[in-house]
Symmetry: C2
Subunit: 417 residues, 2 copies
């Protein structure tokens, strides 16, 4: 790790985060953006909407970092005090910004809303700050550049933050010159984390100190990341290429993808290339696979839709699983998912289908089929592959693992051609 590395801390202000009312997705999208710039994130800190905590954190994090990225506390209610704290910290005061004022008036008018004073007060910003445009909301972002350090403040509303990130990214790129950074990613299946770790022990020990290896097991798939940072771009590229080739050679039987993308994106990529379509028939995942696929823009090119057959009635009447199969084999059985997958192909007129049926829990398990028992089938016109999984406990975890494993099975079926 080099000394001239640009460092950043992320500070999320909000009681709702501290009491667990919402998940901190803001830290995640900010960290991703900073990471792609090669900026090192030293810490993510969540604190209360409390003046002393905010000022203490500003003090500490600004002294230890080049960049402090603050979210939250910019609303119009009394518990929103970030702007006040910025003024106290920088010994400055609020002034009205005409551009922001116009923007607020435009936004409210376009939505047919009145403009109360509390909303107009969002046009007041610290005198020393530059304004970051909020294309979808009334609270502006702020950029304060003082003594070679930058403090960024944005609203905590996730959509508004995301809408400001590109402007912030450009400003950061212009202001700081990060060192060269290269990340390479590998997706690995059919081996446990400890098995892989044993296999790669020697490789890892042989890495130079500016390249590091990280494991991220996720729902039965291991994501490996090789990260390098160095001032000399050419040297870094050469060494990264050499190490990647070594790694790929050692783990060649298990690596199935060398892109940093989600399974749903990977499946979408190959379907798009081949001009093929797909659909899902879901019982225990209740629409999660379809949602995971449609989270990504452009999915309408290959995804036609789903039958969520949460009740047996739907499995019978819509997906035409024979009553006999449901009675003798049960809804969680190889034959059921086979019928679901195969019948969906013609019902939805698609090239590929995925079907899942299982017990997500916490109830519904029995000795023969404990919670976590899941049958998955993937099919095309010539072939139907089925697999039984035992995915352990935890309703959401069972659903998430089923979703990822189903996508992996589908990917493998498509690649088999």
């Amino acid at each position: 790790m080099n000394k001239q590395q640009v460092k950043a801390a992320i500070v999320n202000i909000g009681d709702e985060l501290l009491i667990g009312q919402i998940v901190n997705t803001n830290a995640n999208v900010i960290a991703q953006m900073l990471n792609t710039l090669g900026i090192e994130i030293t810490e993510i800190v969540v604190i209360a909407d409390a003046q002393d905590a905010i000022l203490r954190t500003f003090e500490q994090k600004i002294s230890q970092n080049d960049i402090v990225f603050v979210t939250g506390g910019l609303g119009t209610t009394n518990d929103d005090i970030t702007k006040k704290c910025i003024c106290l910290y920088y010994h400055t005061s609020l002034i009205e910004n005409a551009i922001v004022k116009n923007h607020i008036q435009d936004i409210r008018k376009s939505r047919g809303l009145s403009i109360p004073d509390s909303v107009l007060s969002q046009a007041m910003v610290p005198q020393i700050s530059e304004v970051i445009t909020n294309p979808i909301g009334t609270a502006p972002g702020m950029w304060i550049h003082q003594n070679q350090k930058v403090l960024i403040s944005t609203p905590g509303v996730p959509g508004e933050l995301v809408a400001m990130l590109e402007e912030i990214r450009l400003r950061l790129q212009q202001t700081f010159l990060p060192w060269n950074k290269i990340d390479r990613h590998f997706k690995i299946s059919n081996i446990s984390e400890s098995g892989l770790s044993d296999m790669l022990q020697e490789f890892e020990q042989g890495l130079p100190d500016y390249i590091s290896l990280a494991y991220l097991p996720k729902y039965g798939i291991i994501n490996l990341r090789l990260s390098g940072r160095h001032a000399d771009k050419q040297l870094l590229e050469q060494e990264m290429n050499r190490q990647c080739a070594l790694l790929q050679n050692i783990a060649k039987d298990y690596i199935f993808c060398d892109q940093n993308i989600e399974m749903a994106q990977l499946v979408g990529q190959v379907l798009k290339q081949q001009h093929k379509t797909m659909a899902t028939a879901e019982s225990c995942t209740g629409g999660l696979i379809a949602h995971e696929i449609t989270r990504y823009a452009g999915s309408s090119a290959y995804f036609k839709g789903s039958v969520i057959a949460y009740s047996n009635e739907i499995k019978q009447h819509i997906l035409h699983v024979p009553t006999d199969t449901l009675n003798t084999q049960g809804a969680v059985s190889e034959d059921t998912v086979k019928y679901m997958a195969e019948n969906l192909l013609s019902l939805y007129n698609v090239d590929y289908s995925v079907a899942v049926s299982g017990i997500a829990g916490p109830d519904g398990g029995n000795e023969q089929h404990p919670v976590g028992t899941v049958w998955i089938a993937v099919a095309d016109k010539n072939k139907c592959v089925t697999k039984l999984h035992h995915l352990g406990f935890g309703r959401q975890r069972v659903m998430d693992r089923t979703c990822q494993l189903a996508l992996l099975m589908l990917y493998q079926l498509i690649q088999d051609k």
Copy 2:
């Protein structure tokens, strides 16, 4: 806020969090658990798998809090160094724990896996720690009680953490005696955050210093939380009741629920009470509404399934939206969602249906139907209510808002009876 308040910090260790590879859901579930115990969470900190950062954070957070809850860094790979840091911080060393060793052997055998040394090393725990059982994994949790302070260390795998939380909650309850804490929640619709804030200004100023009000707007619905903390339980209860009655009186036209539950749970609750069933027909949400409903255990009592009609072909052939309607009105139109909702009632034989069609973006918008245009319909045998929404930008945000607004519309339809 009283002085004898028990304080906790959450420390999440993991490079994958700092670079934004995964979202920090662990902090969220821990915060929820601590909050229900009345323990104040002073800070959530995410740091790297780096010895100096870990030791510095232990030092700081243990001195400032009664409880420090640490996740991550307990795997079998070289980047997992939490146990080493615990030993350095407490000047102790690792010893083998026989119970954990047996548990590891049982788990691996039950899954038909071998037991490499790297996995067995998870039975080594700091001498001064008590072990917290990990029912679904091989890495144990640790509980260290020294100088009136508790440090808890668990794996970072979300499912394993969740499986340990109940034991940890019981231990915390026994160890600390938190002050009385009461939270009350209200769900509010049909008013903006600033409008509500203006309406409640006087009420908020009249609150005693041990009761606070927080706003959490989420996808068109505002969640209000009134939180009180006091040593005198009776006084706190009386005052909370008085303030809640005041609040309910002021905002009575907008409050539609006084429980701290998600919309999908609220809808499920009334459907269950009335022994009614539902289904969804989704275009732009691609299964999100179905997934949101089935995230909650017991949803099979009222949820039968869905037709995800992402392509027009499925809208036509499965949901029988007339070709003429699709050609003249378009897929994003009042008539289309009306047909989707009404036809689904008979197709899936349910009491209630929800249908959505819109443009989630980033592509697909035009002048007549910009990104964020969404039609929602909810129907029962007697009535079909439709509504046009303009939900702004951001693919995931448009989907999330559509989902919440559709559930709100369904709830209102059911309550109208």
